[in-house]
């Protein structure tokens, strides 16, 4: 073969080119490409550089049209990402663990944002006739505080736990739809940023309260674009949550390891699964409401305008049909977390596993039947009030079951009060306070007095902060070593815990009194002489204590990270825990499990470490280090990273701005979304360019190939003698 085209008749020149191409195609092994390089090098006559160009081909990734003979990255920066290190990898990752971390870090950021807003509120109310904020800004701040904390902090933090731990706890390599997973995060982030840009471009945040009752949400009472951003932004966030919900439900139902029956699933996974179902059914409702609101405000519709014959109660119903399940969306993940933490530190299995699961499911169901208790004073009629009163009282039952079970788990356990455990116990306690004050609301006459007072504020902060946030912190302290590979400092953690607990009670405890004294919720200031001064000041001091505690937490993260190289790494299982995520190294390798474990019992990991001896005593048969996987499996077939989820998400805020400001922008955003979706659809789930060793053919071949694939695995795990080989392999090849 020769490259001397000038010597050749025209007709044959192209043949030369195609021949050269023919040699180049399919040269995946180093030997072949070297051969091709040789041929080409000879052809171009640079015989002296033969060896150089051949080695270039193998070693150098940057391609060249003339100097080298093989084009490595013909698409340049548009080359499909392959994962690895660096910030680009975070933008294109489809790894559920990385997405979980992204969720968590972003949620913590917005926790700080929402926290600052909370401090502003408390500063304003610290003393009578506060003048820190104007009434208008105060409205915006408390609205955005609520929206931020609910939609941008606690929900995504739960999503972080869900993303990170559901696959690990059920023994999967990834979620069912990894790119959808990335999509849900990026859309959520774009929506969150969009929502907060209303401070800059929307003339301030939304100012209608987080449940945004009509007619306060109408243009007449809220002429700035804040509510528009609320309406559009929450819709974007809703897309993210829906996508995530679908994905995680399918993951829980379809991706479990062999032997992991539903009733062997850890409680956390169970609670998160229920949460996803709640999201799946609740979000469409709020989306409808927001859609109507958007049309009211931006396109002159009259859905909530009584002047045009509409009914503002429509909004309240729609909102609370979403809103009450939302409470459980917030609280159930936290329940799941403490249901993992408490058994681990009580050295006992959870008490009444079936009841825990059943009560979770019951809460999930009954949560749909209580929404109108938010509307007792809206004039829904005595019959409705009575019915919803009863249903609200009933929902305390499954919750009570849970509280009892946690107590019973601790009963007679070998309790270790680590920071995580302390947070978990505090969660139980604080949530119970919140729950009890909730029961008082179910009594309609009391409710009538309490509605729209600080009593309500106290109640739901005990539920959401006491039950949700403290539980999340329990989870953070518990799983931190798993995620990052180092432990958080217990001493600083203790300071964090106690200051936060004290601050929390100082902040929200007095609010009960203030509420009963008649202090209205959402007033921007109050006059002297009502007896509000002292408790408000206490409350403000408490809020700053919470802020200080959060700073301590951040300090703890920083100091622990700095100190970690000098300490013994925590190993795969620092807490002697019970679930599958602790059987892999910390932090987990990208492929999670070297081989997918087969599950034989609930708390599988604990049962691999301990067994009963002949005397019926529980003894350690093997240490965690010995039983754990090493994480060094090679050639595990993983889904390929992709930029398209990010690209799709970029389009959504543009559509949002477009709807609010200029429809042409929406067109641009729509085209970006459309284009990216098309690219996504055309992009194979597995990148054909990556080196999959012998797994390359899997996407094309049928099940026979899976067996072959399995045979080629490095078998590290003693439990891999599972009878259910097919199912085992399915985990490997899911994209």
């Amino acid at each position: 073969m020769t490259n001397k085209h000038t010597d050749q008749p025209t007709g044959e020149v192209e043949n030369t080119a195609t021949n050269a191409a023919g040699v180049g195609i399919g040269t995946s092994t180093a030997a072949d490409s070297t051969a091709a390089a040789d041929v080409n090098a000879t052809a171009t006559g640079s015989s002296t550089t033969d060896n150089d160009s051949a080695t270039d081909t193998v070693s150098d990734n940057s391609a060249n049209t003339t100097g080298k003979d093989v084009v490595e990255r013909p698409l340049g920066v548009f080359t499909r990402p392959e994962g690895g290190r660096g910030w680009r990898d975070w933008l294109s990752t489809v790894d559920h663990k990385k997405i979980g971390i992204l969720y968590g870090v972003s949620a913590m950021f917005f926790f700080l944002v929402g926290g600052v807003e909370a401090l502003l509120i408390r500063l304003q109310l610290a003393a009578p006739n506060g003048s820190v904020l104007s009434a208008d800004v105060y409205n915006q701040v408390y609205t955005m505080h609520g929206v931020t904390m609910v939609f941008l902090f606690i929900m995504p933090l739960a999503a972080a736990f869900a993303n990170y731990f559901i696959p690990l706890q059920i023994g999967a390599r990834d979620v069912a739809f990894p790119r959808l997973n990335a999509l849900s995060f990026w859309i959520w982030l774009s929506g969150a940023i969009f929502l907060n840009t209303s401070w800059i471009v929307g003339g301030g945040g939304a100012d209608c309260g987080w449940f945004c009752y009509s007619p306060n949400s109408g243009v007449a009472f809220s002429p700035s674009h804040g509510v528009d951003f609320y309406a559009v932004g929450l819709q974007i966030l809703g897309i993210a949550s829906l996508v995530s919900a679908v994905n995680l439900i399918v993951t829980c139902l379809n991706m479990r390891a062999p032997g992991m029956t539903l009733m062997r699933m850890p409680i956390l996974t169970w609670m998160l699964l229920i949460t996803q179902f709640l999201l799946l059914f609740a979000l469409p409702v709020i989306t409808v409401a927001l859609f109507l609101l958007m049309f009211d405000r931006l396109f002159g519709a009259q859905f909530f305008n009584p002047d045009a014959g509409a009914d503002p109660l429509l909004w309240q119903h729609l909102f609370w049909i979403f809103g009450h399940p939302e409470v459980y969306i917030i609280i159930l993940p936290s329940f799941g977390i403490i249901s993992e933490v408490i058994p681990a530190f009580s050295r006992k299995p959870i008490f009444g596993y079936q009841f825990m699961v059943a009560s979770g499911i019951a809460i999930g169901f009954m949560g749909w039947g209580v929404w109108a208790h938010h509307m007792f004073v809206s004039g829904i009629g005595p019959l409705s009030v009575a019915a919803f009163s009863l249903s609200t009282m009933f929902i305390a039952v499954p919750t009570g079951v849970k509280v009892l079970n946690w107590l019973a788990t601790m009963w007679d356990g070998k309790l270790r009060f680590t920071v995580a455990m302390k947070f978990a116990v505090a969660t139980v306690a604080m949530f119970t306070i919140g729950g009890l004050s909730g029961v008082t609301h179910s009594v309609a006459p009391a409710n009538t007095q309490q509605t729209d007072t600080y009593y309500i504020v106290a109640h739901f902060h005990y539920v959401i902060f006491g039950g949700g946030v403290l539980g999340m912190f329990a989870g953070i302290y518990y799983w931190w070593p798993k995620i990052w590979g180092y432990l958080l400092n217990e001493r600083l953690g203790n300071w964090h815990f106690w200051i936060m607990l004290v601050g929390f009670n100082l902040t929200f405890g007095p609010m009960h009194i203030l509420g009963l004294q008649g202090m209205s919720r959402r007033i921007d200031t109050y006059a002297t002489g009502y007896g509000f001064e002292a408790w408000n000041m206490v409350s403000t001091v408490g809020s700053f204590l919470i802020a200080f505690a959060v700073l301590l937490f951040l300090l703890n993260v920083w100091k622990s990270k700095r100190g970690s190289p000098y300490l013994q790494p925590p190993g795969p299982d620092p807490w002697d825990a019970r679930t599958l995520e602790w059987m892999i190294p910390s932090p987990p390798p990208v492929h999670n499990f070297d081989t997918i474990p087969s599950v034989h019992t609930r708390d599988e990991w604990w049962h691999r470490k301990y067994a009963e001896n002949e005397q019926g005593e529980v003894v350690s048969v093997v240490t965690a280090e010995e039983a754990a996987q090493t994480g060094d499996a090679k050639g595990v077939h993983l889904p390929s990273p992709s930029f398209w989820p990010l690209a799709v998400a970029v389009g959504f805020p543009l559509i949002g701005y477009g709807i609010i400001f200029n429809l042409w922008l929406a067109l641009v955003g729509g085209l970006i979304v459309l284009t990216s979706l098309y690219s996504w659809a055309m992009e194979p789930a597995d990148n054909p360019d990556t080196q999959h060793d012998d797994h390359d053919h899997l996407q094309h071949d049928d099940d026979n190939a899976h067996t072959e694939d399995h045979d080629n695995q490095d078998s590290q795990d003693s439990a891999s003698e599972s009878p259910d080989d097919n199912k085992d392999n399915k985990q490997l090849t899911v994209a």
């Binding site: 180049g24 081909t57 391609a63 060249n64 093989v70 084009v71 698409l75 054909p688």
Partner: protein
């Protein structure tokens, strides 16, 4: 199918694009110079007759000099791009091309300011007409140069580094330099000597 480890394309003649660019730049330069020459001639005629060409103080030298400075800087960044294309240095390549384009946009922006500042209508006088034709021709040339630069950028974004890309960048760079020279002419004939 795989898109990595594909065979290299048949190498083309180096410098073909550069020579094309050389000739195209020459032709454009001639067109531009003849406009400037006509400008100067008509200005001279007007002065012989004793008419005012521009009214005193209507043209500010400051912004014009600023544009010259910007373009002179861009000459450096363009060469930076050429150099980094030759050495296959991707980050530098993007930075250099990006900065060059930024300078281009900056000059367009400054011209917008100059047009606002001058406040001449095109039919005010022959001077105004010539002013707009000469500067408009320059702006058109700059836009073409920027499009060439954008094409070079796209080629370096999507694609392989190598001599081929270096040729394209070099060719675009040549046209860019010709543009800068043309602006220097405008600066001297229109803004300095008024």
């Amino acid at each position: 199918m795989k898109t990595t480890s594909l065979p290299s394309p048949v190498p083309t003649r180096p410098r073909t694009v550069l020579i094309g660019s050389l000739l195209a730049s020459s032709a454009t330069f001639i067109a531009f110079c003849s406009l400037v020459a006509l400008y100067v001639r008509h200005r001279q005629q007007a002065r012989i007759v004793g008419q005012d060409w521009f009214t005193e103080g209507s043209l500010q030298l400051g912004p014009a000099s600023m544009m010259l400075m910007t373009l002179l800087l861009s000459v450096v960044t363009v060469q930076w791009a050429v150099q980094s294309a030759k050495t296959e240095d991707r980050p530098h390549q993007f930075m250099a091309l990006g900065t060059t384009l930024l300078f281009g946009v900056a000059v367009l922006n400054q011209f917008w300011f100059v047009y606002q500042d001058v406040g001449l209508a095109i039919d005010d006088s022959k001077a105004a007409l010539f002013f707009y034709v000469v500067t408009g021709a320059f702006i058109a040339m700059l836009v073409v140069a920027m499009i060439a630069m954008i094409i070079a950028t796209v080629r370096s974004l999507a694609g392989t580094f190598g001599k081929e890309l270096a040729n394209i960048v070099q060719a675009s760079a040549f046209f860019w330099h010709a543009t800068v020279v043309c602006y220097a002419l405008v600066w001297y004939t229109v803004f300095v000597t008024k």
